[in-house]
């Protein structure tokens, strides 16, 4: 299919992240998986705004005709911050869980909860 390479990378990241969430039993790796998945989405958003040869959306004296769409950039920034916040929160939860159960393995935690 006629997708550019960047889109394949997006799908690859998205799929890898999902696969990691679905199969890893280590909580930290699940958190990493979520981040990878979100990274895929954000790359998609950024790629949408850019076509080869575009300039960054900084208006100066040398403004050319091809300027990248600034909106996805702004959205991406926002989404990155949100992803970082959730990651911080999730990691702190995992730390607390580790202090409680002495493990970050999801199966072991489940067996200890019963």
């Amino acid at each position: 299919m006629g997708l550019s390479l960047a889109y394949w990378v997006v799908l690859l990241l998205f799929g890898m992240g999902l696969y990691c969430i679905l199969t890893e039993s280590n909580l930290i790796k699940i958190a990493v998986g979520i981040n990878v998945m979100e990274a895929g989405l954000l790359l998609f958003l950024v790629r949408l705004s850019y076509s080869p040869g575009d300039l960054a959306p900084l208006m100066g004296p040398t403004t050319g005709p091809g300027i990248a769409d600034p909106i996805p950039h702004a959205l991406t920034l926002t989404a990155i911050v949100i992803a970082a916040s959730t990651t911080a929160l999730m990691l702190s939860l995992i730390i607390q869980i580790y202090r409680h159960y002495g493990t970050v393995d999801i199966e072991e935690i489940r067996s200890k909860m019963q």
Binding site: M1, G2, L3, S4, Y7, L11, F14, G15, L18, Y19, L22, T23, R47, L48, S49, Y50, S51, P52, A56, P57, L58, M59, G60, G66, I67, D69, P70, I71, H73, A74, L75, L77, T78, V81, I82, S85, T86, A88, L89, L91, S92, L93, I95, Q96, R99
Partner: protein, 238 residues
């Protein structure tokens, strides 16, 4: 377990292939005509309408400043959550810090890191960067201090209560700027329309409220992330 891995792999493969179809139908950004009316408008009039030459900052702090308020709140919530989570958490970090060599090095580069952070914050509306990016650099400074000098020293320099107060005050600064629009008869988060100083686009004193918002966000993010780090590694219960 192996079964789940195979199932997950197949599932994700099929799903991504299904998404390929959806993406392939999208208008390709490689053709210049695909830029929407919205994009063209912002590229065309952005500088005039906001006074900021960094269009990303223009979108982030003016056209879509409400998103930025939301994301600042997200950080605030995450910080509150982390602090809540570690409210009574005892842990034993290194209290001594690293060697004298590292300490002296930090003494030298510390001010530069601070200046770099502030620069990125203050110049956010005319060059790449902005409150979030600069704020993160400011927060790394506190992390460096706690690693090199130990948490006790960092705590002595920057009391967590001070950080909390700084974070809240910075958020309140953001709100104040946002409410100026309301009180001047314009709308919430109005920028130039509310009478903020336009300045000459490209200079530091330009872009109306955007630099102010950048500073507020920078302080808030810096204080917030420092608080997150401190909460995660702190020693004594407060």
């Amino acid at each position: 377990m192996r079964l789940r891995k195979i199932a997950a792999a197949i599932l994700i493969l099929v799903l991504t292939l299904a998404l390929v179809g959806a993406i392939a139908e999208l208008p390709s950004p490689d053709e210049r005509v695909s830029q929407s009316a919205l994009t063209q408008r912002i590229i065309g009039k952005g500088v005039v309408e906001t006074g900021a030459t960094n269009l990303v900052a223009a979108v982030l702090f003016d056209y879509r400043a409400f998103d930025t308020l939301g994301e600042a709140t997200v950080i605030f919530a995450a910080v509150a959550g982390v602090v809540l989570m570690f409210y009574h958490a005892p842990l034993h970090p290194s209290a001594i810090g690293l060697s004298i060599l590292a300490k002296r090095s930090l003494d030298v580069i510390g001010p530069f890191v601070f200046v770099a952070g502030m620069y990125i914050v203050v110049y956010g509306h005319i060059s790449p960067g902005g409150g979030f990016q600069g704020g993160v650099i400011l927060a790394t400074l506190t992390i460096l201090i706690s690693i090199v000098y130990g948490l006790q020293e960092e705590r002595r320099l920057l009391d967590p209560r001070f950080k909390t107060a700084l974070e809240s005050s910075a958020a309140l600064l953001f709100m104040t700027v946002a409410f100026v629009g309301v009180f001047s008869g314009e709308y919430f988060l109005s920028n130039l329309g509310a009478g903020f100083f336009r300045g000459h686009p490209g200079s530091v004193l330009s872009g109306g409220a955007i630099p102010l918002l950048n500073v507020a966000i920078g302080l808030k993010v810096g204080a917030g992330l420092a608080l997150v780090f401190y909460s995660m590694v702190k020693k004594e219960p407060e």
